[in-house]
Assembly symmetry: none
Homo-oligomer: 143 residues x 2
DNA sequence: ATTGTAATTGAGACTCATTCTCAATTATAA
DNA sequence: TTATAATTGAGAATGAGTCTCAATTACAAT
């Protein structure tokens, strides 16, 4: 994401562009998969750039509110994020036998969720759907 | 749940039946909806029974491993549980602001998931759907 | 470019859920 | 009843995340 776009995003929120925020943005977008605040913070330090832990947490909140990244889960080890930008949303099927994870996407499923949210006056920003069961291969093995 | 069944459950895990564990079990099963460890702990104290916070946390872990209760979510305000038995399946909306959890159920949603599984040759046995976002109240506050 | 001012930063104090420690207690098999 | 291994509880420790506030900085106005 470009400096100018980011600046504009911040402006709309009455916030200022700072080096720290930009460093954090870039690092957050650099991850293809999941990441957590602490890892991001440590990697920023390692690369010589500077941004405090406090700023990392503050900026990640901003980025989430802007829809640039999203919270994937809260685990025992903290919050997990992933970038939204340039990432197609998908859900997961998890085979409890072999541990295989299949990704899938259903427009229909997304639409229905939107409708449900609308009905309840809930503003959904992300979701996690995990279907657990047995994949094709393991079903055959069971027989 | 009965004392003997519980004892048996513990035995299978090489664990002992204790008053504390039983008090915690009973209290956990007494909630129709969601509950959290701290609330459960305080209510146990209030009713004159005794069980330390440490035991509450330890026992809730055991109960989750046994499938008696399940983790509904981890929020900024802690872990939320609900009992598994005698509970119709439903999905959750989690307000990332206030931590409120709304339950919902959609036949349509369930059907579509079945179809998706069928197409992929996947035998689904359970699923978790969590929609994260802002509830009605918090949406108003944001404005 | 300079200045005024409000936003931002960082270090570390703080909070709060949860886990750990370990001596005292207790369930259970022998 | 006894031996012993599991369990308990009080409070210390941990760790993610937030808060405080003085110093710094972005940026609009001049």
């Amino acid at each position: 994401m470009d400096k100018d776009i980011f600046t504009k995003l911040l402006r709309e929120r009455g916030q200022r562009f700072t080096k720290e925020r930009f460093v954090i943005l870039q690092k957050a977008l650099s991850y293809d998969g999941h990441f957590d605040p602490e890892t991001l913070y440590l990697q920023i330090r390692k690369t010589g750039s500077k941004a405090s832990r406090a700023s990392v947490y503050r900026t990640l909140s901003v980025l989430r509110e802007c829809g640039v990244i999203q919270q994937v889960a809260k685990t025992e080890h903290g919050t997990v994020y992933e970038r939204t930008y340039g990432h197609r949303h998908h859900d997961h099927m998890l085979c409890v036998q072999c541990g295989d994870i299949l990704e899938f996407y259903s427009e229909e499923l997304e639409k229905i969720q939107e409708n449900i949210c609308k009905k309840q006056g809930f503003q959904g920003s992300s979701h996690t759907l995990e279907i657990r069961g047995y994949c094709k291969k393991c079903r055959k093995k069971k027989k």
